[in-house]
């Protein structure tokens, strides 16, 4: 956990109501699946966002405008300095993937899977991405994923890109030794049922602090209460009880 100042170097629309924000600053190495908390001027609580990609001194966020805070974010000008807490949460365990990994994402949950896919590729692991969206114009990072995944399957609710329907309906014939998933709760439940190996799921929660002190984000797991911001946001498939 580190509280740093970062500068906006890019903040552009990449899909319907979805923006990509690139920040530069003194960021340490961040594990895939970890998140950051951004202070948005004029709002009391920080906003949590997954890290979509990192490089030396650089951080990429993909965010959707869903409320007042994210609406304010889309107007952040290039050059603006932001107060960010980086390195929050546990992140995905990349090392467990041996030969092939399945990445299942829904909506904005696809964002952290990009940093994960990059890390898996570096380790020589083949990744298959199954990504679900409402419609073709919601899809982001299409070319970027194409560079790091061996196979990509899109599913859209309206059929405008890839298969029509839910992302979890197309997992059957894929071979993988572990899986990683992030997306809305109903999707994660379906993923838990549709996968045949152990794997990891990344959750969301309303957060007070994001660094483990307020107990605002707790979920009940098979091994008792766990904080999504601290022991999570990534949990083992077997840990979760819904």
């Amino acid at each position: 956990m580190l509280n740093i100042k970062m500068k906006v170097v890019e903040n552009v629309a990449v899909a319907n109501e979805v923006y990509r924000m690139n920040l530069v600053g003194n960021v340490p190495q961040l594990v895939p699946g970890s998140f950051v908390e951004l202070s948005v001027p004029g709002f009391y609580l920080r906003r949590p966002f997954s890290v979509a990609a990192t490089a030396e001194g650089r951080l990429m966020l993909i965010y959707k405008v869903v409320g007042k805070g994210t609406a304010a974010m889309k107007d952040f000008p290039v050059g603006m300095e932001l107060d960010v807490i980086v390195g929050l949460g546990n992140g995905f365990d990349v090392a467990r993937a041996r030969r092939s990994a399945l990445l299942i994402g829904g909506g904005l949950g696809v964002a952290p899977l990009y940093q994960l896919a990059v890390a898996l590729k570096k380790r020589g692991v083949d990744s298959t991405l199954c990504a679900g969206f409402n419609s073709a114009n919601d899809i982001f990072l299409k070319e970027e994923f194409a560079d790091v995944c061996t196979e990509i399957r899109y599913a859209t609710m309206d059929g405008s890109c890839g298969m029509k329907g839910l992302v979890t309906e197309q997992l059957l014939d894929i071979e993988y030794d572990t899986f990683y998933s992030c997306g809305p709760l109903p999707m994660l439940k379906a993923v838990q049922a549709a996968t045949h190996t152990p794997g990891q799921l990344s959750l969301e929660a309303r957060m007070g602090c994001g660094y483990g002190v307020c107990m605002g984000c707790t979920i009940l797991t098979v091994s008792g209460p766990k904080r999504v911001c601290k022991e999570g946001p990534v949990f083992e498939k077997e840990e979760l009880v819904w």
């Binding site: 956990m1 509280n3 202070s39 709002f43 009391y44 609580l45 920080r46 807490i85 929660a205 309303r206 957060m207 007070g208 602090c209 660094y211 483990g212 002190v213 307020c214 107990m215 605002g216 984000c217 707790t218 979920i219 009940l220 209460p225 601290k230």
Partner: protein
């Protein structure tokens, strides 16, 4: 050189700045941000006799200049707190520790205090909890209810005893006086104000519990007013809490009558809140020509 030391119920604090219960955990996470030893004291997460999961989520909602929480006293239980959490805190923090305790029956409070008191320097009794033997009405909402629990805990508590009051009452002074009479050594003011927010799109309350405790800068004037009223009416020290954000707020609370000051929600949005307050305090005192902080306690007539 300015003098920031204060004496809280016979316990000397190097400065009056104390993270409030529930906004600092048991210190472990915050010690990753800064050296806790610069704080006056720490009030640890509210502890109940039995472990508690707390309320269903969502438990947090944002407001203008503040927030709601309905955490519901999630904690690992008094035994674990006494045996594991406090000893761990003591390893990284060498200043007085305040144990915040809570219960749902008089016996629950007493047993909890028996386990926690020996491990801490000051006990802070949170009497905002619902009494399961009295239709769930909070102990702290009547003078009689407050006095009953203070008396019962006083008997088993050999540490200075602060009583933390709920602001959700019509006559805070009457309740504070009842606590003083029942043996309290000091009063902490205030716990959260009951509030509510609605998600317009879902047409549902944001909190699963519907209502929750309102805190943050927005409540500062309410807290300050209660600190002023109670410190004038009682002869025991008052700890000011509610919406404190800056060193100036600390001075203001103390002018109103507080002997020490707790900082709550601000820790959740700025992990360095307490550190910054402690570090800015001398400059603010110099600017206001205060050489000894205790000189200004309750100077407002």
């Amino acid at each position: 050189m300015v003098d920031t030391t204060v004496n809280l119920c016979g316990v000397k604090l190097q400065n009056p700045v104390i993270p409030a219960s529930g906004t600092f955990g048991f210190g472990a996470e915050m010690s990753e941000f800064y050296d806790l030893d610069l704080l006056g004291s720490i009030s640890i997460k509210g502890t109940t006799l039995e472990p508690r999961f707390g309320n269903p989520t969502p438990r947090i909602a944002e407001c203008a200049e503040g927030m709601l929480n309905s955490v519901g006293l999630q904690n690992p239980g008094a035994e674990h707190v006494a045996k594991v959490e406090i000893p761990q805190l003591r390893q990284r923090f060498h200043q007085p520790v305040i144990g915040n305790i809570c219960g749902f029956s008089i016996d629950g409070y007493r047993e909890c205090c028996r386990l926690i008191a020996p491990q801490v320097d000051i006990v802070e009794l949170n009497i905002s909890c619902p009494n399961v033997h009295n239709g769930g009405m909070a102990f702290g909402t009547t003078a009689d209810g407050a006095a009953a629990v203070v008396q019962a805990v006083r008997d088993v508590c050999d540490r200075p005893l602060l009583v933390k009051l709920s602001p959700n009452v019509t006559d805070i002074v009457a309740i504070a006086k009842a606590c003083e009479l029942a043996g309290a050594d000091g009063i902490t003011l205030i716990n959260t104000l009951l509030g509510m927010r609605i998600d317009l799109r879902r047409r549902q309350p944001i909190l699963a519990q519907k209502m929750g405790g309102f805190s943050g800068p927005a409540v500062f004037p309410v807290a300050l007013r209660m600190v002023y009223q109670v410190s004038k009416a009682c002869n025991i020290p008052v700890v000011g809490c509610g919406g404190v954000r800056t060193a100036e707020d600390v001075v203001e609370m103390m002018m109103a009558g507080a002997t020490a000051v707790e900082v709550g929600s601000e820790n959740l949005r700025n992990p360095f809140a307490c550190k910054e307050i402690v570090e800015n305090l001398p400059a603010v005192m110099n600017d206001l020509k205060i050489s000894k902080l205790t000189d200004i306690i309750g100077i407002i007539e």
